[in-house]
Subunit: 350 residues, 2 copies
Amino acid sequence: MSRIEKPADSETARNPLRAGKPTLKTIAELTGFAITTVSRALGNAPQISESTRRRVHEVAAEIGYLPDRAAQRLKTGRTNVISVLLDPHEEILGFGTSIMHGLARALQATPYHLIVTPNFLDGSNVDAVNYIIRNGMADGLIFSRTEPFDPRVRLLLENGFPFVTHGRTEFSTPHAFVDYDNFAFAYEATKRLIVKGRRKVTIILPPKRLTFCQHMLHGFMTAVREAGVAYEIPEALDLDSPADMIRDYMRRRSTEPDAPDGYTCPGEVSALATITGMSDNGLSLGVEYDIVAKQTSRLLSQIQPKVETIYEDLKAAGEGMGSLLLQRIAGEPVEGLTILQSPQFSFPTP
Amino acid sequence: MSRIEKPADSETARNPLRAGKPTLKTIAELTGFAITTVSRALGNAPQISESTRRRVHEVAAEIGYLPDRAAQRLKTGRTNVISVLLDPHEEILGFGTSIMHGLARALQATPYHLIVTPNFLDGSNVDAVNYIIRNGMADGLIFSRTEPFDPRVRLLLENGFPFVTHGRTEFSTPHAFVDYDNFAFAYEATKRLIVKGRRKVTIILPPKRLTFCQHMLHGFMTAVREAGVAYEIPEALDLDSPADMIRDYMRRRSTEPDAPDGYTCPGEVSALATITGMSDNGLSLGVEYDIVAKQTSRLLSQIQPKVETIYEDLKAAGEGMGSLLLQRIAGEPVEGLTILQSPQFSFPTP
DNA sequence: CACAGAATTTAAAACGTTTTCGATGCATCG
DNA sequence: CGATGCATCGAAAACGTTTTAAATTCTGTG
């Protein structure tokens, strides 16, 4: 039972915060076992006897041992990091943070950390993806707003790198994704407008290059055809258009002949902009026209309850992406690893 | 010039992604220098001759060498990580992501990564802070919504851990912060209402426990006293109140006698909610009443240009916090490390 | 031309893990 | 009683970097 062998205080002096941080060696000395044994015991390896396993865990808990992430990462090559590619378009209405909260919840009891890699470069963030793959900066990747043949997805598939997207693609090779059923949303929303007796419907679509634009269009058109109702699609506008542009468009269009009276708005901002544009013209919601909107927060219906809304639960989406990614990293086959969220008719429980 | 010495392919087979990753050793072999020399040359150590320094950098760039973060972290004890504490209240209107984009921009050319630690626990996230300090999970910390005697700040000060807050405190020990001049905002906003001829002003304040609530109140009261105008402060409401609560309050209050006609709204949501509440009662903005609001995005003025707005540049705030934190980590004295953002009268350039 | 001293380079240890390969003890079996 | 198998445990190497201490080369000088 030798106690003190070397001075061993130089480190303490240099970096006070790292000072007494317990390591495997600490536990080894305290229990009398070898470092190997301690490591195995904490890893619940099979060849360790139940009694020493318990003893080691006990001591570890007592002194508040936590494995050093850097050492683990260096040794094993696994980073225990999941990277989120932040899109500049997600700045509005808490898209980014909702998903992140969900992700964080999924990773809560795991050793994984969440690191955000914002996109500084051009439209798509292939460079960031490439960087992460090449330099092993993460064990898995998460991003959103996919295109049918998204170059990021292609790159990741080619390299066999684990990832989950928010949104589908049209690659023949399957991959893990979480997506909202935007077909169902557009279909349902448009049908509601028709049921309300609206004679001509319209929809603000996402940018054409994004996969879910097609889904929405399809849902919208299906409802239109089933009912045989009139419709139009504003070509000059999309969901990413600035709110004032949408507002001005709506104001102008509603003065022209043959204006729509039923609006499907796939986002809070577009709905608010539409309402303002119309009311600038003296038209009021629920009287001359109706809106069914997609909500990701409570904001819109709290402010303007006359808007009919259908919810998308982004926190659940994040949580789903996290859990799918964990399964991918664990090596599970990609086959079942997809989630299609159904439109919700009441606000999701946080 | 020996070429192949050992098989050296076992790793390649096991982890294909880590395969040919160049290390210091690779460069050492390629240049003929020792690993030490290569390390020093890349670190631009003074004792290395200019010629070898250039040669090493050249080869490093050529083979795309990047230092292994795990090894650096293990050796030096520095994590090269900056942690952001995500607050659940920041879910709305891109607060979180704007700040994060700013932060990321400040850290762009540095080795620092941004990792988000969401707050799952009770109101304040002291536990998360404690965890990060104790286990050396980051080199610096960033968080927002400070209280006058914020327990997180206290903990960090006690441990000498580098951090920057968004918002001030009232500790006697100084610390780095970025804050918006909410006194100036409230003062200016309220004065504008008075200049417009409004007879009775009011303001929706932040939760009382937050430092900037006092600043706003002070700015508001200063303007009120200077002009000798009537005022009231809704006690049942704060900035964190759900939008429908604010809307309902405004609707009710505006029917009662002696209702205010000038509103200072320190947020987009509260402004929208106020507008809706008032218009539910047939009162219209710019006619029976006015609003001056704080905007952090373009949304509000795009939707409703009749709202007078004053901007807060959150991306710049993030960028400021990042650069202050870097200086703190580099050991600079805390004295000058504070930024007080002035209210902006036009939308900040992204 | 030897030599101090500066300038440059290097070998080796260390950071805290995981993992490979053995070692040890002990009961069982021929 | 020696050999065998099994259940546990341990010594040492390795991951890629930084750093300490020492070795080597180069310079000018006496």
